[in-house]
Symmetry: C2
């Protein structure tokens, strides 16, 4: 049984030397795996998230076949919306839909405070169950959305390409926007603390849609709330991963939010990103998820390119720049794990 301080993944999060670069994937449990699809035929996505035994089963599904260095609890970034009172539905093929979007001061004032222990306790229970199953093998990552990403869903009522309603709320009613971000941050802090209390050994904060804003909008309307969340997690003694996409040109600004590890996408070479944010800051991510569909030699070239650019320097976690896509060949994902583990620097 491995002591928590010896996990390769947690060591890399702390910038300590490791025997091999840790590797895991966002959405490593999901539709691309036949075991997941089999379960999905019997239960809805929300049922799977909200039933601890099912969430546990899904979390465990990829671990043995892939041999990854971390598990991530099966859940959804939008789960806090139900107790906040906006409603939450997943419509087949169309993704998430929020029946009562938040667009006015009154909507924001009506948002309900959340007691995560009581109202999102199913996530905590799943975390406890997964920990029992994987104890001593690999650590378990908990997660939540970052404030902007959660608010953008709440305001738009679902996915968006232009984020027009969200940005206009920021511009037209900055006080309403700030109250919304404040309320959401409070919920996220409580939710993340609950996950750590239940046994999460690291946290990832997903700012999946933040790449739509300007650096100055980020500073003015978003950064203070990201900092608030990150600061509140400091005492928990678990590493926190600051994840974003589409932010390659403003990683220095995003890094000001805090977090122990910066996770970014493929629109920048990983060594150039480390030049910007500083080589002492651990990093994660970077491979384009589409590359996993490519022939093995192409995948290998990409993996090797990333590994070579990092040059064996500490504080590197191999991952994609975003989640695994539907229909990704499972054996290609497994191949990446092997490539990363077998890579020899200077070899």
């Amino acid at each position: 049984m491995t002591s928590p301080t010896d996990y390769r993944f947690l060591k890399a999060c702390r910038g300590e030397p490791v025997d091999a670069t840790p590797v895991w994937f966002m959405r490593q449990a999901g539709r691309y795996m036949k075991e997941y699809r089999a379960l999905k035929e019997k239960y809805s996505f929300l049922e799977m998230c909200q039933t601890p035994e099912l969430a546990t089963e899904v979390t465990l599904q990829p671990l043995k076949p892939l041999g990854v260095d971390a598990a991530i609890i099966f859940a959804d970034i939008l789960l806090p919306l139900e107790p906040m009172g906006t409603g939450l539905e997943f419509i087949k093929g169309d993704g998430p839909s929020i029946p009562r979007p938040v667009r006015t001061r009154k909507d924001v004032e009506n948002l309900r405070p959340v007691n995560s222990e009581e109202q999102l306790g199913y996530v905590g229970q799943a975390i406890k169950l997964v920990r029992q199953e994987i104890e001593g093998k690999i650590p378990l990552v908990g997660f939540a959305a970052a404030p902007f990403t959660l608010c953008s869903y709440m305001v738009e009522g679902g996915k968006s390409s232009e984020f027009k309603i969200t940005k206009l709320l920021m511009y037209e009613e900055p006080e309403t926007w700030k109250l919304l971000m404040e309320k959401v941050s409070t919920v996220l802090i409580d939710y993340l603390k609950m996950q750590v209390a239940a046994g999460a050994q690291a946290l990832q904060i997903f700012d999946s849609w933040i790449g739509c804003v300007t650096p100055e909008d980020y500073r003015e309307y978003i950064l203070p709330y990201c900092q608030k969340v990150m600061n509140a997690l400091k005492d928990l003694d678990v590493p926190v991963i600051n994840f974003s996409t589409g932010t390659s040109s403003m990683l220095d600004v995003i890094a000001q939010a805090g977090g122990d590890v910066m996770s970014f996408d493929w629109r920048i070479n990983i060594d150039q990103a480390r030049d910007v944010i500083g080589w002492d800051k651990p990093v994660q991510g970077n491979m384009d998820p589409v590359v996993l569909f490519a022939p093995i030699p192409v995948i290998k070239k990409r993996v090797n390119d990333i590994m070579q650019r990092v040059g064996g320097k500490p504080g590197h976690i191999f991952n994609l720049g975003h989640g695994i896509l539907q229909h990704t060949p499972v054996d290609h994902v497994k191949a990446v794990v092997d490539m990363v583990r077998e890579y020899k620097h200077g070899g």
Copy 2:
């Protein structure tokens, strides 16, 4: 009547001092204007593009109300697809659809060469008509897609979010991809030369979707063809604008393609972009199109921020980072023109 060498817009494209910063907008003719919507009730989008008198009317629509410093010919980046043989349809609400996508070696081999003078001559005729109308007032910009953006539509069969089929063609069949890019580049060069022969006084090359690739993919699979197109336009003696979005972290790589002016989006501050690509290179773009929906004081703050960051240095064309969005208030667009024109550096 202004001599061509005196146009504010063309001077800025050449990096020469100007009396006021030139300003125009991508999609300045379009659905946000009631004059356009009135015409659109009688004709389809393709009819409007392909009938020189209608394209001329639409091109002229925004010029007086807005008072912009350049006209851009009303056309669509996908028009060359029809003569190439893939078909082209615009489905209400769903955007463009390509009935016969290009996905195999055979598909690429079957693409037909294009004689732009004959097969896309309606664009040239519209250019001639517009020139007669605006001669001596403002210059006219012609345009085409960049090779990657056009190829991505051809391969995906329409718009895409992941560009999976396009990237996999690159990765799995690089020779097929290169033949496709070669053929498309040849068509684009002929098409752009025809536009200049007809009277276009500047050209803009739209690489609207290039922000989905890694810097290294750009270098290997895309850059040589962008360079080929840009090089072929050098002798035409008109400035060429190299437009892209989502590329803020790799503007140095995109700039290697060539072009006299770099046009980029809002994900980077304009002064930082100029630091990267060099202050001697003229620039365009940068304002988030969503800001045009915001209250006037918010718009003014943004305009002033951009103007202040450029600091009155030559080679600046004010524009958005992408096209004007549907439902944008026309008076807000006009207000931006006035703000730019009235801005006093150091004032």
